[in-house]
C-alpha cells in the first residue's frame, strides 16, 4: 500500500527507509563505542553524576563493552514496531487486570457505584449481539436488610427497551432460606424473529406462508407487561422450592417498519396470538437440586430443575395450557477440579388443555438454552423440545475463564417425532471475566446452522 505525505512529496518507501535507518542507528550503533573513565579516583564527596558514582564504586579505569551483535541488532530493528504494538496491547490489558485486582481501586470504584454502607448503588450494563442493536442499561439497588429493591433498565432505541423492578424480602435461619420477590416487567421491542412451528416450518401444515415470499422468518413487535410474585424456600443446602404466580399481558403485531415483517411472510391471522392483545395468569411450581459449590465459579456438581406450569387466558382469552420441563446437568471434574465437562439436556413440553382455543405462539416453550440464536428468536416452536448440550470449561487465569460448547435443538409435535435430522446446531467459544463466584462480563463467538453469531455482555453483578 502506497501513501505519500503530499506536502513533503516523499513516498512511503522512503519514509520507512528513513525510520529503519534511524532505528538501526539509535538502537545499537551508539553502544558500539567504548566509555573510558576520566578519573577513577574521584573523591566520593564530589560525585554528582550517576556515571561518576558508578566508576568510583566499581573502581574501574575502563568500563566493559559487550561489543556489537549484528543479528540481535537486525532482529531488534525489524521487530521494533510489531514488538511495541504487542507490548502496548499486553500492557493495556495488564494494567486493566492490575486495576481489577487492586483493593484501592476496587474501593475507589465502589465509592463511585455505592454509598459507603453499600445500601444504595448503581452500575451500568452493556450488551452487544450481532444482528441486533447494542443495548445499554443501568441497574439501581437499594438495600436494607432483609429488604432489597432493584430497578433495571435496558435501552437500544425508542422501539426497543426493557425495564424491570424487583422488590425482595430475604430471611435466613440456620441452613434454611426463604425469599419473596415481587417483580414488575415492561418490555417493548420490534426485532423479534419468528420461524414458524415444527422442525421444518416450510413443510409443516401448521404454518401458512405467503407463497410469494421465500423468507425463513418474519419480525414481529411485542409489548410485554408482567407482574410476578415468586417465593423460594431452601429447606436444606442443596434443595430449593419455588412457586411463581404471574399476570402477563402481551401485545403482538407487525413491527412499525422493515421489509421482513411477519405479516408479509405468514398469512395474517394464521399465527395464534398474533395481532392481538392477550392476558394470562400463570402458576408455576419448580424444584431444584444443586450440589455445586456456590463459592467457586468452576466446580463439580449436579444440577436438576423441574417445573410444572399452568397458564390460563383471562377475559376474552380462553386458552388453557400446561407445560412442564426438566433441566439436568452434571459437572464432571476432569484432570483438576476446575476443569469441568458438563453434559446437559433440557426438555420442555406443552399441552393444550382446551382444544377449542389455540395457545398463543409466545406461550410455547422457548429454547433459551440453545445458543445458536439470540434470545429474541423463536427458531423452533413445538409441543416438545429437547436441547442437549456439551460444554468444557477451564480457567485461563484467576479471573478469566474459557468455555467451548456444542448445542443441539430438536423439536417435535410428538415425542416420537423428535429427530436430529437437520436439527439446528451451534458450537462456540466463550471467554468470561468473573469474580470468585459470579460472572462479570463475557464474550461469545458462535457458529452453527444459523450462521455466525457474536455476543458481548458487560455488567458487574454486585448482588
Amino acid at each position: 500500500m502506497q501513501w505519500t505525505c503530499d506536502f513533503m512529496n516523499v513516498s512511503s518507501n522512503k519514509i520507512i527507509f528513513i525510520i529503519f535507518l534511524g532505528l538501526l542507528f539509535n538502537l545499537n550503533f551508539l553502544t558500539a563505542f567504548p566509555v573510558k573513565s576520566q578519573n577513577s579516583s574521584t573523591n566520593v564527596d564530589t560525585l554528582t553524576t550517576q556515571q561518576q558514582a558508578y566508576l568510583f564504586v566499581r573502581g574501574i579505569e575502563r568500563d566493559e563493552q559487550p561489543g556489537f551483535r549484528p543479528f540481535y541488532t537486525l532482529k531488534k530493528t525489524v521487530l521494533f514496531i510489531p514488538e511495541q504494538f504487542s507490548v502496548g496491547i499486553k500492557y493495556a490489558s495488564g494494567y486493566g487486570v492490575e486495576l481489577l485486582n487492586n483493593p484501592k481501586f476496587i474501593n475507589d470504584l465502589e465509592y463511585i457505584f455505592f454509598t459507603q454502607d453499600k445500601s444504595l448503588g448503581w452500575y451500568p450494563t452493556l450488551s452487544i449481539t450481532s444482528g441486533l442493536r447494542p443495548r445499554i442499561g443501568v441497574n439501581f439497588l437499594i438495600k436494607h436488610a432483609p429488604y432489597q429493591f432493584v430497578v433495571k433498565a435496558k435501552f437500544a432505541d425508542e422501539e426497543k427497551y426493557k425495564t424491570e423492578a424487583r422488590f425482595s424480602y430475604f430471611r435466613k435461619k440456620q441452613e434454611k432460606l426463604f425469599r419473596l420477590n415481587i417483580e414488575l416487567l415492561h418490555e417493548y421491542d420490534d426485532d423479534r424473529k419468528y420461524y414458524g412451528f415444527g422442525a421444518n416450518p416450510r413443510t409443516d401444515n401448521r404454518n401458512q406462508f405467503i407463497n410469494s415470499n421465500t423468507a425463513k422468518y418474519g419480525y414481529f413487535f411485542q409489548e410485554h407487561t408482567a407482574f410476578k410474585i415468586i417465593s423460594g424456600f431452601k429447606p436444606v443446602t442443596q434443595f430449593s422450592l419455588f412457586y411463581t404466580t404471574a399476570f402477563e399481558q402481551r401485545i403482538l403485531k407487525n413491527p412499525f417498519e422493515g421489509g421482513q415483517r411477519i405479516n408479509s411472510i405468514f398469512i395474517p391471522g394464521s399465527i395464534p396470538g398474533m395481532d392481538c392483545i392477550f392476558n394470562h395468569w400463570t402458576n408455576e411450581f419448580s424444584v431444584r437440586y444443586n450440589s455445586q459449590n456456590e463459592n467457586r465459579y468452576l466446580s463439580g456438581g449436579t444440577f436438576i430443575e423441574t417445573f410444572v406450569k399452568i397458564s390460563k387466558g383471562l377475559g376474552n382469552d380462553n386458552n388453557l395450557s400446561a407445560s412442564t420441563g426438566i433441566t439436568a446437568l452434571k459437572r464432571f471434574s476432569v484432570l483438576q477440579n476446575n476443569r469441568i465437562l458438563t453434559p446437559r439436556f433440557t426438555i420442555y413440553s406443552i399441552k393444550n388443555l382446551d382444544a377449542e382455543h389455540a395457545i398463543p405462539f409466545t406461550e410455547y416453550p422457548h429454547h433459551s438454552e440453545f445458543r445458536g440464536v439470540n434470545d429474541r428468536t423463536f427458531l423452533r416452536l413445538d409441543n416438545h423440545l429437547l436441547i442437549p448440550s456439551l460444554q468444557y470449561s477451564w480457567p485461563l487465569s484467576q479471573n478469566i475463564g474459557a468455555h467451548i460448547f456444542t448445542d443441539y435443538l430438536t423439536s417435535g409435535y410428538k415425542w416420537s417425532k423428535l429427530s436430529f435430522n437437520n436439527a439446528p446446531w451451534a458450537a462456540g467459544f466463550i471467554l468470561d471475566l468473573h469474580s470468585v463466584n459470579e460472572e462479570l462480563a463475557n464474550v461469545k463467538m458462535i457458529y452453527g446452522s444459523e450462521g455466525w453469531r457474536f455476543h458481548a455482555e458487560i455488567g458487574v453483578s454486585l448482588y
Binding site: 550517576q50 579505569e61 559487550p66 556489537f68 483438576q336
Partner: protein, 546 residues
C-alpha cells in the same frame, strides 16, 4: 516550518536515491564492523567498602500525594508483562571492584561478611523492645482482613500492631517475625518488629480519636481468637523520621541527590529475586521499599527500608486462595495463551498444592518450589533486571544461614503447633537448598581466598555449601589488558575438594604488561558456566567479576 521540513525531506530523498543501490555496500561493513568486546580494567586501589550516600540533603518531596499519583506511577510499572521483556544485560552499578555491595543507606553487610549468631539474628534490629502497656490507641488503619492499630506505649514510643486473620491464627505474625529477621540478616534496613501479646484492657482509646470502644471491639472480633485472654500481634516500631513514601522501583528518587544509582540497577534490590523466592514473598514490590528522611530538616538524608513481610511464606496465597502466588505473575499473557491453546490440559505446579493441616502454615511448601521459575505477583523492575551474578551474590549471603539460625527464628515465632514449627524448619531448609543448588551454579562460583607464591587460591562456594563430593573441573584462560589471549593452549585443572589453586606465574604477568585477567569457567552438567574473572595488576588482585 512546513517548508523547512519539506526541504529536509527532499535532501533525505536525494540521499535515499544515492544510497539506494549502494545501501548494501554501506550496510554490510556496518553490520560486520565489530567494536570489539572489551572487558573491565580495574584501577590499582582497595575495593570500596562503604559508599557515603548520607550526605545532608534538603527534604525531598513525598511521592504519591494523591490517589491519581498512585494510579499513574505505581500501577503502570506493575502492568509490565514480561512476555517479550528481556532485561538489558546491564551489570549492577552499586558493586565494588570485588563484585560486592558496599555498605550504604541501603545495605549493611551482615550475613556472609560477619559472624551473626542465631541469638543475634533473633534479636535483629531490636533497640527499644516490644511495647510497654498501657497502650493508647491513636488510629485504626482502614479495617481490612487484618486490621492494623497505631498505638503509643507507656514510654511514648509509637508502634503499629498487626494481627492474624481469624481463619489462620499465627500465620501473619509468625511470618512477619521470621522474615523480618531474615532480611535483617541479609543486610537490609528493616523496622523493629516484635512478637507481642496484649489483653483487651491494655488498650485505651485516645481522647482525640474519632472512634470508640465498640468499634475497637468490633475490629478485634475479626482477628484471631485470643489465647489465654491475650491477642497475638506483631508490634512494629514506627521508624523515626519523615516518611517519604515508597521508593520508585525504576530510576532514582529525583529530589534526592544521594540517590545515584537507578534502582533497577542496584544489586541490593536485584538480590530480592533470590531472597523473595526463598521466603516466597510474592507480593514484593515498590510498596515494600520505604524511604524515611532521618536527621534534622535539610541536614538529614534519606534512608531506605524494606517493610511489610507478612505476605511472605505464601501467607497472601493462603488467605486469599491464590495458590499461584510465587508461580505466576498475577497477569501473564503467556500463561493465558498457554492455557487457552492447551484447553487447560497442562496442569500447572501450583494447582497441585495442598494446604497443610496447620492454619499457621497454610500452603507454604518446598516440594513443588522451583527457584528458577519463581515469579513475583507483579513484575518488579529490579527483579526483572537481575543478572546471574546478582543472584549469585544473594545466594552467597543465603548460604550463611544455618540450620541453627532457622531453628532459632522458628522458635522465636512461637508457632501454636509443635509439628507446624518442625515443618517450617524442614521446609525452609529444603527451599534454601534448592535456591543454592540453582543460583550458585549459574556462574562459576569461585570465591577469592588469597594470592601467594604465584598461586591464586579460590574456594568453590557451591561445592562447599552443598557438600558435594564430585570432582570439579575448571577451564582457564589468561588475557592481557587489551583482551589478547596469553596462553596458547587451553588449560584446565581438576580438583577433588572445594579448594582451587590457579598458577599465576611471573612470565605471564610480564607478557601481559603487568595486567592479567584470568577467566575461570566451571564445568557443570556438561556445560561451561559463565566465567569468573580475576583481574591482577602488579601481582595484586584488583578486581573480580562474576
Amino acid at each position: 516550518m512546513v517548508l523547512k521540513a519539506g526541504a529536509f525531506m527532499q535532501k533525505l530523498e536525494s540521499l535515499y536515491i544515492k544510497m539506494k543501490y549502494n545501501i548494501y555496500i554501506i550496510l554490510i561493513p556496518f553490520i560486520f564492523l565489530s567494536c570489539a568486546q572489551q572487558s573491565f580494567q580495574f584501577a590499582d586501589k582497595e575495593p570500596v567498602r562503604y559508599f557515603n550516600d548520607i550526605k545532608p540533603v534538603p527534604v525531598p518531596e513525598t511521592v504519591f500525594k494523591n490517589r491519581f499519583d498512585y494510579y499513574a506511577n505505581v500501577l503502570p510499572p506493575r502492568a509490565m508483562v514480561s512476555s517479550f521483556f528481556i532485561a538489558p544485560n546491564n551489570h549492577a552499578r552499586d558493586v565494588n571492584s570485588w563484585d560486592e555491595v558496599p555498605a550504604s543507606s541501603w545495605y549493611i553487610p551482615r550475613l556472609g561478611y560477619n559472624v551473626i549468631t542465631p541469638d543475634e539474628l533473633v534479636k535483629g534490629p531490636s533497640e527499644f523492645g516490644p511495647p510497654v502497656p498501657p497502650l493508647v490507641l491513636i488510629r485504626i488503619r482502614k479495617p481490612e482482613s487484618t486490621p492494623r492499630l497505631f498505638i503509643k506505649d507507656a514510654r511514648g514510643i509509637h508502634y503499629l500492631l498487626k494481627m492474624d486473620p481469624r481463619e489462620f491464627p499465627a500465620i501473619a505474625t509468625a511470618t512477619s517475625l521470621i522474615v523480618n529477621r531474615l532480611f535483617y540478616g541479609f543486610g537490609y534496613n528493616v523496622p523493629e518488629d516484635h512478637l507481642f501479646y496484649f489483653q483487651r484492657n491494655d488498650i485505651l482509646i485516645d481522647t482525640t480519636s474519632n472512634f470508640n470502644e465498640n468499634e475497637l471491639d468490633n475490629i478485634l472480633s475479626r482477628v484471631a481468637y485470643p489465647q489465654n485472654g491475650k491477642y497475638r500481634s506483631i508490634a512494629s516500631r514506627i521508624i523515626e523520621g519523615l516518611p517519604m513514601g515508597p521508593s520508585p522501583a525504576k530510576g532514582v528518587r529525583k529530589e534526592d541527590p544521594n540517590d545515584l544509582f537507578p534502582h533497577e540497577e542496584r544489586r541490593i534490590l536485584r538480590a530480592l529475586r533470590v531472597f523473595a523466592a526463598f521466603t516466597n514473598m510474592s507480593e514484593i514490590g515498590s510498596d515494600n521499599l520505604f524511604d524515611i528522611y532521618v536527621g534534622e530538616l535539610n541536614k538529614g538524608y534519606v534512608k531506605h527500608y524494606l517493610i511489610d513481610f507478612d505476605d511472605a511464606f505464601g501467607t497472601n496465597a493462603t488467605r486469599n486462595n491464590r495458590l499461584w502466588a510465587g508461580f505466576n505473575h498475577n497477569f501473564s499473557m503467556n500463561d493465558i495463551l498457554l492455557n487457552l491453546l492447551t484447553l487447560g490440559i497442562v496442569v500447572q505446579d501450583w494447582e497441585k498444592i495442598n494446604y497443610t493441616p496447620w492454619p499457621s502454615v497454610g500452603s507454604f511448601e518446598a516440594v513443588l518450589f522451583k527457584p528458577e521459575k519463581w515469579k513475583e505477583s507483579h513484575p518488579f523492575d529490579p527483579i526483572q533486571y537481575s543478572q546471574p551474578e546478582d543472584n549469585y551474590w544473594a545466594a552467597k549471603i543465603l548460604s550463611s544461614i544455618s540450620k541453627e539460625h532457622i531453628q532459632a527464628l522458628v522458635k522465636a515465632a512461637q508457632y501454636p503447633e509443635i509439628e507446624a514449627a518442625q515443618y517450617m524448619i524442614d521446609t525452609l531448609l529444603k527451599r534454601k537448598t534448592k535456591v543454592l543448588q540453582y543460583y550458585l551454579n549459574q556462574v562459576t562460583p569461585l570465591e577469592y581466598v588469597n594470592m601467594k607464591n604465584d598461586t591464586l587460591t579460590c574456594i568453590d562456594l557451591a561445592s562447599k555449601t552443598l557438600e558435594s563430593n564430585d570432582s570439579l573441573y575448571y577451564h582457564i584462560e589468561y588475557y592481557d589488558s587489551n583482551d589478547n589471549v596469553l596462553n596458547n593452549e587451553k588449560s584446565h585443572i581438576q580438583v577433588n575438594n572445594e579448594l582451587v589453586q590457579i598458577p599465576v606465574n611471573k612470565e605471564l604477568l610480564d607478557k601481559s604488561n603487568k595486567y592479567t585477567r584470568i577467566n575461570i569457567s566451571k564445568l557443570y552438567n556438561r556445560e561451561l558456566l559463565p566465567a569468573v574473572e580475576f583481574h591482577i595488576r602488579n601481582n595484586k588482585l584488583v578486581g573480580i567479576v562474576h
